[in-house]
């Protein structure tokens, strides 16, 4: 009997990091904890393993690699890796998935369509590496129809052969032809706005704040830094919106039905400087962020999307949560130095206040 290679998101949790990849495991964990996550399923590393080993993929890749020679530490050889990557990806993407896998994926996709109440649902096929390498592998958005889902799952797998990844593996002396990852197949949120939030003020480490960044359209715009998002700083305790900066967002990242690709679309001038979140959405996001942080027990870096078709508050989805990487790692040190109330009072009474004048 083969290992189980596909799971509904609610069947996995953080304990399955190595099985389905960190992103799937976290989304599963969030789903299980009752957060609003787009419905989806996860392909484990065993799915990758089966695909690579039960088909022609591995022998063909090995065959290709047997004649390939380049130095991963040489900048000049990057060109060679580039063309190798193209070759390897076209080998992988030309291969059919084992029939039972394909059938299972198709039926799970139908189930997602049934749950969403629509045919030809848009889904995202996202890579999920067992160890988080953000952006290392690829993600395909607005995948529609079961043929495309199957095709794009293979494309995600083949992204383990993108130039960056094969060079990285070659440098570390790891097998170049094999790097099992998980894949998440997630219902797309028809995002009117999306972005990132931190459960700590990234500027000064103040853990009493949630910092929210948001832009029109899909969240990639914010994550990639391609637009200047709106920024909000919300107090976790009082839920006051302490700071709000509405930026000129320029463009949004949106789906083009003609080309069937995601693209940056210039916003009309009257929309560019409009806040892309309502106050109630900002506050709901803050409440959710606090719960996510409480669930994982440390400051979080969370991606979210706000659906344009669902009513508030069901419109708000979490699409990613991971430990915040800067302040979360700092050692927790005392800032008051063990002083008593009286020490602090005496200190205050003896220290004049400087007036800073421009």
């Amino acid at each position: 009997m083969t290992e189980k290679w596909v799971y509904w998101l609610k069947e996995v949790g953080t304990e399955h990091n190595d099985l389905v990849g960190k992103k799937c495991a976290n989304l599963g964990e969030l789903t299980r904890a009752g957060f609003h996550v787009p419905p989806g399923f996860a392909l484990s590393v065993h799915a990758y393993d089966r695909f690579m080993k039960e088909t022609e993929a591995t022998p063909r890749l090995l065959e290709f690699l047997s004649t390939f020679q380049a130095d991963p530490d040489s900048v000049a050889d990057t060109v060679k890796y580039d063309s190798a990557s193209r070759e390897m990806r076209s080998i992988v993407e030309a291969i059919r998935m084992p029939a039972d896998m394909e059938e299972d994926i198709r039926s799970r996709y139908s189930e997602l369509c049934r749950v969403a109440g629509r045919e030809n649902l848009f889904v995202a096929t996202r890579s999920a590496g067992p160890v988080s390498h953000p952006g290392q592998y690829e993600t395909y958005l607005n995948v529609c129809g079961s043929n495309d889902v199957v095709k794009n799952v293979i494309r995600v797998w083949s992204s383990t052969f993108n130039t960056r990844s094969i060079i990285a593996r070659a440098r570390l002396g790891l097998p170049v032809h094999y790097d099992p990852i998980g894949v998440a197949v997630l219902t797309m949120v028809d995002a009117k706005a999306a972005g990132v939030m931190f459960t700590v003020n990234p500027v000064n480490g103040d853990e009493s704040k949630v910092a929210i960044e948001s832009s029109f359209g899909f969240g990639e715009a914010v994550v990639s830094g391609n637009v200047t998002p709106d920024r909000y700083l919300v107090d976790k305790v009082t839920l006051d919106i302490d700071e709000r900066v509405v930026s000129d967002k320029g463009c949004e990242f949106a789906y083009n039905p003609q080309t069937r690709e995601m693209e940056y679309v210039e916003l009309p001038p009257d929309k560019r400087k409009v806040a892309c979140l309502e106050d109630r959405e900002i506050l709901e996001l803050t409440r959710i962020a606090k719960k996510v942080e409480a669930h994982f027990g440390c400051p979080q870096d969370i991606e979210y999307a706000v659906s344009m078709s669902l009513p508030f508050p069901e419109s708000i989805f979490l699409v990613q949560a991971r430990p915040e990487s800067v302040w979360g790692k700092k050692k927790k040190e005392s800032v008051l130095g063990g002083k008593t109330g009286w020490d602090l009072l005496f200190e205050k009474a003896t220290t004049p206040v400087k007036l800073k004048l421009d």
Binding site: S208, V237, D242, E243, V335, L336, L344, A349, T351, L355
Partner: protein
């Protein structure tokens, strides 16, 4: 101001008040004026207009409170609790407005000396505050009762009555008693102001310490949140309004009373009508029972004689009750929920505490919080008893002195007594006593006093039309005096704003910055209440713009959309009440009442601390 130099305001001695104020100096005693003989010292200090205690031109007799606090506040800082680097706050009058300056720290050896005394005396207060407060209240009540009982003879009579001569002679006439009574009441008010500062300096210091502590832990914590953490729910200053709510509920439950209270018209008529039925009489009894002390609350700040108190302007509490009764009928809630306020406080403190990263810091925070909570209530409680209750008694007594001077032709009306300072009033009383004693036909200088009063009234009117300069001299580099920072909100930023405002003509300014004291954003028409009596003009849905507010205005906050003040930090009255009512407020803008005009459409951003004029009226 054209004469303004970069980064400083004009020096007191180069500053000219408008010609319409000519002669203003003679209203105030010489020690309260900028003077040639102290020029060097005065030039070396930074003087800013005290809009908290003297937002309006100062009537000479009202100035007594200012004199009294200068001595009391300063003395408690320098000589009683000995806050090491802090010294007192000096006052000067300029064109009928009061300017103040915090003194620079004393020499290092004095700081050391004071530190030892501070270390001995201050912990004692914190450890015993509950008992000290109870004793304070007792002695303060006693002082108020004595002032209330002070006899001010109204009719000197043609001859002293027999009983003052025999069988056991009193030994002095009512004319002598009248002169003595004024000296007594002056002593009483100075004593009251000594009591006022007994624990206030320490309460403010504790508050500032807690702000620092919270900021170290949470750099972005807003002072308005800290205000919520330390504020008490059950404080004397809120009692008058609570009593109004209670009386309104009582009235609402009985239709004859309810219907009378809902009518428009003066309180006098309503009281007359209430006396006509049983339920009304019962309700009036209840009103009488709470009137003393709780209606002895000023309609303004308590600092000016003409503001009046509820007890002598019953139209005001009755108009509040009229709207309360209507709201009760609509099923709205009118009371502040004390338990909600304290639950909210507990929640905020608890949640912030849980965000502290180390146990050691949590312990320090707890300890700092205990220190501030043990004494902060004083900052909230003393206000009612001194500025409201006792000042109400003072004003009504002073009117008795004004009454007798009017009766004997020294003044045109009793209120004119406020046009003479506390050193001059004894002259008028002596003039009266002398003429009475001399017998029939001895003239007083009534004509002279009346002319003086008329001239001074004109000067004060001219001063009301003048927008005084916010400050004089060179801003200092640092401040160590707790009141300056907390009460007047003097920070580098505020002084910078004053400088900016001083340079631009008010009509050219379109945006003001102040303290973000209650979150939220609203837009609407402004109502500028420059004089506190203008509160009756306020329309529902307007944004109130005032020099500052106080608790007797609380019912107003149910009518307005937002509040903006010239002066006041995050724990000022306007800030506290705005937070309770969930209204945006920006306090301490310095210039709002001179820049904004009634009818201007403004946007108040209580989260950012900005006020923007969108459309001029």
């Amino acid at each position: 101001m054209a004469e303004e130099k970069l980064g400083r305001f004009p020096y007191p001695h180069e500053f000219q008040v408008p010609g319409s104020l000519e002669g203003w100096e003679e209203m105030y005693p010489p020690q309260r004026l900028f003077s040639k003989d102290r020029e060097e010292w005065e030039k070396n200090h930074f003087w800013f207009q005290d809009k908290i205690h003297a937002p309006e031109p100062m009537y000479p007799l009202d100035d007594i409170f200012q004199e009294a606090w200068q001595i009391a506040l300063s003395g408690y800082t320098t000589r009683v609790f000995c806050i090491p680097p802090a010294q007192g706050i000096a006052q000067r009058m300029m064109g009928c407005y009061m300017y103040i300056t915090p003194l620079e720290p004393p020499p290092p050896e004095v700081i050391q000396e004071k530190a030892a005394l501070f270390g001995k005396r201050v912990p004692f207060v914190f450890q015993n505050y509950q008992r000290l407060w109870e004793e304070w209240l007792k002695k303060f009540h006693k002082l108020g009762a004595e002032m209330k009982e002070l006899k001010v003879p109204q009719d000197l009579g043609n001859y002293v009555p027999d009983e003052q001569v025999m069988p056991s002679p009193r030994g002095y006439t009512d004319a002598a008693e009248l002169m003595a009574a004024f000296n007594t009441i002056v002593n009483q008010i100075f004593r009251a102001w000594q009591y006022h500062f007994e624990y206030l300096n320490l309460a403010y210091l504790a508050y500032l310490m807690f702000v620092d502590t919270a900021r170290k832990l949470f750099p972005g914590i807003k002072e308005s949140t800290i205000g919520k953490m330390v504020a008490g729910a059950d404080v004397s200053m809120f009692r008058p309004e609570e009593e109004l709510c209670r009386l309104s509920r009582l009235a609402a439950s009985q239709s004859p009373v309810r219907n009378i209270l809902k009518k428009a018209g003066p309180a006098e008529d309503k009281i007359k009508e209430l006396k006509g039925n049983d339920a009304g009489r019962k309700w009036l009894e209840e009103l009488e029972r709470v009137k003393d002390p709780w209606f002895s609350v000023s309609c303004g700040s308590g600092w000016y004689h003409y503001e009046g108190s509820w007890i002598d302007k019953m139209d005001i509490p009755f108009s509040y009750m009229q709207s309360y009764v209507e709201r009760i009928e609509k099923g709205e809630s009118i009371e502040r929920s004390l338990s909600e306020i304290s639950d909210e406080r507990e929640r905020i403190v608890g949640e912030y505490k849980s965000l502290i990263k180390t146990d050691a810091d949590r312990k320090s925070f707890d300890d700092a919080y205990d220190v501030v909570r043990s004494i902060y209530k004083y900052a909230e409680d003393h206000l009612f008893w001194v500025e409201h209750w006792l000042h109400t008694i003072w004003f009504s007594k002073i009117r008795e002195f004004g009454g007798v001077l009017t009766r004997y032709g020294l003044l045109k009306s009793p209120e004119d007594i406020y046009l003479f300072n506390r050193f001059e009033v004894p002259m008028l009383l002596e003039d009266l006593a002398t003429s009475w004693a001399l017998g029939i036909g001895a003239p007083t200088r009534g004509k002279y006093w009346m002319e003086k009063a008329a001239k001074r009234e004109k000067i004060i009117e001219a001063a009301k039309k003048w927008s005084p300069i916010p400050a004089l001299g060179v801003p200092p580099a640092e401040v160590s005096e707790p009141f300056t920072i907390m009460l007047w909100g003097v920070t580098g930023d505020t002084v910078g704003e004053w400088l900016k405002g001083g340079k631009a003509e008010p009509k050219d300014l379109n945006e003001l910055k102040g303290f973000a004291s209650s979150a939220g954003i609203v837009e609407g028409p402004a109502r500028v209440l420059k004089l506190l009596g203008d509160v009756v003009l306020l329309q529902p849905g307007e944004i109130m713009v005032a020099p500052c507010t106080n608790p007797s205005w609380a019912p107003v906050f149910t009518k307005i959309k937002a509040a903006v003040t010239d002066i006041g930090g995050l724990t000022s009255h306007a800030a506290i009440v705005s937070r309770e009512y969930g209204l945006p407020s920006v306090t301490g803008t310095g210039l709002a009442t001179s820049v904004i005009k009634t009818g201007d459409i403004i946007r108040v951003d209580g989260s950012a601390g900005t006020v923007k004029i969108l459309k001029r009226a």
